[in-house]
């Protein structure tokens, strides 16, 4: 696929590759620099695998100081930088460039401090999301945001993308769970914002850093909020003959005054694939399945699930199953969390991530189905219904270039639909390169210019992850490559 344009690499930088690698080795030592082709190959893409590019070099510093030294070096020499966590971005957020150095934080994965009385953990950001919960779990705590990739993805990536997850309906997303950061700016300055206290002082710069897709700096340490584990949690499965009924059910649950920890939605194609994979007991004869989870003591759970079942019964569900035990609960969640992987074994897919107002759910799902039909492609839907964050998986054959192109076009149409319905392009995956050229669908030039001024404030030369987030034309720095039709026309 070549639909998304990337900037022309600076040939002068690429030509100096050998010397640059030597410099990096002098700064960090051999053990932290990957300069050979085989080594770099492992970093040529992220989870948005349709796009690949060999980076100039890869460095894996062990310390904040190491990151600072490399950034200062890149700043002095005008070399671009691609920050990288575990490379699980679904939008090409960690896609390298030929003239850029990848700085990976994966070796900085220590837990530095856990304070259960003040309820925070201070960690290096190369730690995986799940490892934070594992570290505080024995003390009865957990770290709330739970993206599906939590086994692999790093906190650094979660911070860059403001990651969410199934349980953020109750606990919020990354930005609501980070108390403080230590960040290195492009000139190698180390700044600290916030800390073990609840609200940082001054302007809310942390709000800009979380979700800035590695464009404002590299966060090497973070203080995150940890929460006491609930006494218990249990999901129930509610199957409906139509998505319309399922969506009414979601609205009624929320309107009734209950905010479950999660309300997940799957349509028929998704149910079939996930059930085949996880054997979770999903009903196979329904068009829409809700997984609704509540927390509390046994009695509280029974009470709340009973109440929710009452709401569902009024709508005449095709099936209604309350998880019998922890083993079944685990299977139910295994099915949901492995949905992308399970569908990926069947077909290549593009995973969309638009969010819509819940009231538009039925209409939007119908339209998504129509759009995909128009392009002759299959679609499966698995998403966070409680917060309207959709994940249509548009299936295609990656070996068929024309089909791949149609999939991208269908994806763009789906996202335009989400914005038109009052929603947004991306709820938790980020813009990256994938949605970069759609930003004008959601934002005016004034909105984008204001955001880009913030980028310029932190990174005047636009060296940090530059090809992402903002459309290439209309930038203060970094012109699109000459083959860009907009330029060719001039």
């Amino acid at each position: 696929m070549t639909a998304i344009l990337l900037p022309e690499p600076e040939s002068a930088v690429v030509a100096r590759r050998e010397a640059i690698v030597k410099d990096l080795v002098a700064i960090l030592g051999h053990a932290s620099v990957i300069g050979d082709e085989d080594g770099r190959l492992a970093y040529e893409t992220d989870a948005f695998t349709a796009y690949r590019c060999m980076p100039l070099a890869v460095v894996l510093p062990d310390t904040t100081e190491g990151v600072a030294q490399v950034l200062a070096y890149c700043h002095r020499n005008g070399i671009k930088v691609i920050p990288r966590g575990a490379g699980t971005s679904l939008c090409g957020g960690a896609l390298p460039a030929e003239d850029a150095i990848v700085i990976g934080v994966s070796r900085m994965n220590k837990v530095l401090e856990v304070d259960t009385s003040a309820r925070f953990a201070r960690v290096e950001t190369g730690i995986t999301n799940l490892a934070i919960s594992a570290a505080v779990g024995p003390a009865g705590f957990f770290y709330a945001p739970d993206p599906s990739s939590q086994l692999a993805c790093t906190l650094a990536g979660n911070i860059a993308m403001n990651s969410g997850g199934a349980h953020c309906l109750k606990y919020g997303v990354t930005t609501n769970n980070v108390l403080g950061v230590k960040m290195v700016t492009i000139d190698g300055t180390v700044i600290e914002i916030g800390g073990a206290h609840l609200d940082a002082d001054g302007y809310d710069i942390m709000a800009l850093i979380v979700g800035s897709e590695g464009q404002l700096g590299i966060v090497t340490e973070a203080t995150v909020r940890i929460l006491p584990l609930a006494e218990g949690a249990r999901p129930m499965l509610i199957g409906f003959e139509s998505t319309a009924k399922a969506s009414i059910c979601v609205s009624r649950i929320i309107a009734s005054g209950i905010v479950p920890v999660a309300i997940e939605f799957m349509d028929r194609p998704a149910i079939e694939v996930c059930e085949a994979f996880a054997k979770a007991g999903y009903p196979l004869d329904v068009d829409a399945l809700l997984i609704v989870e509540v927390e509390g003591s046994e009695e509280e759970i029974a009470d709340r699930l009973g109440y929710i079942a009452g709401i569902a019964q009024e709508l005449g569900p095709s099936s209604l199953v309350i998880s019998a035990d922890d083993a079944q609960s685990a299977k139910i969640w295994k099915g949901r969390k492995s949905a992308f992987g399970a569908i990926g074994r069947k077909a290549d897919y593009l995973c969309m991530d638009g969010t819509i107002p819940l009231s538009q759910l039925t209409y939007v799902l119908e339209e998504i189905s129509n759009i995909c039909k128009r392009y002759g492609l299959g679609v499966a839907n698995v998403f966070h219904a409680g917060d309207g964050n959709l994940h249509p998986l548009i299936m295609y054959d990656a070996n068929d270039a024309r089909q791949a192109e149609r999939a991208e076009q269908a994806g763009a149409d789906v996202l335009r639909l989400c914005v038109a319905a009052g929603g947004c392009l991306t709820g938790e995956h980020g813009v990256g390169i994938e949605k970069r050229d759609l930003m004008r669908v959601q934002f005016s030039d004034v909105d984008l210019a204001q955001q880009m001024r913030i980028k310029t404030l932190f990174d005047p030369q636009w060296l940090l992850n530059p090809a992402k987030v903002f459309p290439l034309d209309g930038r203060p720095v970094l012109a699109p490559r000459a083959s860009d039709p907009a330029i060719a026309a001039e």
Partner: protein, 406 residues
């Protein structure tokens, strides 16, 4: 310019700011003006209020979302929410009692512009955590939007959230969109009396570490506790420590019992029922413990672990009354009037404990001289200054309100 500017629409605000810009004339930005007494007095000839930008523009109870124009009074918003069994979960404070300013006037825009959150912040997050979108006009007289009306949105930089707590110095909000939450069916409060501060903070932290979703934890030293009127705890001369549990009725009963059991080493608490709980936490929201007087009032944000120690350190230099909220993460510190408002000692203590201090109440002459907001480290100050330039390069909006030279 002596007239008060009252824009009633985005475009009108835009043209006003364009004109001010052309004349290079700074302006003080207010909602209802109930928090004008906080911060440095603004150095501006003109005054602009969002009070005419009024009205709820979107309310979807089934999506837990509301949009309102910035000048809409919070009281109006809460009435509307209550009619559908919902609330502002972060329970913004009313500073009227503490500042001898009008009560019940605060606008929703000001709530977000000052990131104003009350006791429930400890469990559900702050105002900034609930803001999901806004429209506004920046100091360049540009109308912009950020975020939207959906709960999850990572499209572009989170400019909306970055404007929370900026006290009108970066942009003027015209419309805000925020998350709301269902009202709890039942509330109970456990009140422990006579605990010393360190034990109280320890107990509150312990309570927050249980799975019972405690949604409010405060400790009041005796003088502050004496200002509480709600029976049966009103008018006592001992310290009080209160823990709030909110949920459906069966759950509240169950959790109350479990919590008392977990905290039995700290004594036998009094129990407040729903009505008394509403009374007490209502008084907390109105900052009754720090009712207006000549005393200086500081708001200190620190790690709960350090809170009691910080106050003890200060007591070596001055008499201190304190109200601890957020299980000790927020301390309202009241000290007798003095020349520098105690800034030197308080800033030193905060520097050791970590966190930050804001001067909330002092004579205007004092607020003119003392740094009201926490002075920042040089690298961070440079970014703050840069951010001000990004949004308001001419320095038209609330100059000097947060930092004297910004």
């Amino acid at each position: 310019m002596t007239d008060i500017l009252r824009p009633a629409a985005d475009w009108e605000l835009k043209s006003m700011l364009a004109q001010l810009g052309a004349q290079n004339m700074a302006v003080e930005i207010v909602g209802a003006g109930s928090k004008r007494g906080i911060g440095h007095p603004v150095q501006a000839a003109g005054l602009l209020t969002t009070a005419s930008l009024r009205g709820i523009t979107l309310y979807e109870p089934t999506e837990l979302v509301m949009s309102a124009r910035a000048g809409t009074p919070v009281s109006q918003i809460e009435v509307e929410l209550a009619s559908r069994g919902q609330m502002l979960p972060f329970e913004p404070l009313d500073y009227g009692v503490a500042l001898a300013a009008p009560q019940g006037m605060q606008t929703i825009g000001a709530v977000f512009a000052t990131n104003n959150s009350g006791s429930r912040r400890i469990s559900v997050g702050s105002a900034r955590d609930h803001l999901i979108g806004l429209r506004g006009v920046n100091g360049r007289a540009e109308i912009f939007k950020s975020g939207g009306r959906v709960m999850k949105n990572v499209t572009g930089y989170d400019v909306a959230r970055a404007l929370t707590g900026s006290w009108g110095t970066l942009a003027v909000m015209t419309e805000v969109t925020f998350k709301v939450a269902p009202l709890p069916d039942d509330i109970a409060t456990l009140v422990y009396t006579g605990l010393p501060e360190d034990l109280a903070v320890e107990m509150m932290s312990l309570a927050m570490g249980t799975p019972y979703e405690v949604s409010g934890t405060v400790h009041l030293t005796p003088k502050h506790a004496a200002r509480i009127a709600t029976a049966p705890i009103g008018g006592r001369a001992t310290s009080i420590t209160a823990l709030r549990i909110e949920n459906f009725m069966k759950s509240v009963r169950y959790r109350k019992g479990r919590l008392m059991e977990a905290l039995k080493a700290y004594g036998q608490p009094m129990e407040l029922d729903l009505e008394a709980s509403l009374g007490f936490w209502g008084e907390m929201r109105r900052l009754v413990p720090v009712t207006f007087s000549d005393d200086i009032l500081w708001r200190v944000s620190t790690s709960p672990r350090k809170a009691a120690e910080l106050v003890a350190t200060l007591r070596r230099h001055m008499p201190v009354e304190a109200t601890y909220d957020w299980s000790g993460g927020l301390v309202w510190i009241e000290i007798p009037d003095c020349a520098d408002a105690g800034a030197a000692d308080i800033r030193r203590a905060v520097a050791i404990a970590g966190g930050h201090a804001t001067l909330i109440r002092a004579r205007e002459a004092v607020r003119r001289e003392v740094e009201v907001f926490q002075p920042q480290a040089p690298a961070l100050e440079k970014l703050s200054r840069g951010l001000k330039e990004v949004f308001d390069p001419q320095g038209l909006l609330n100059p000097g309100r947060m930092y004297q030279t910004m």
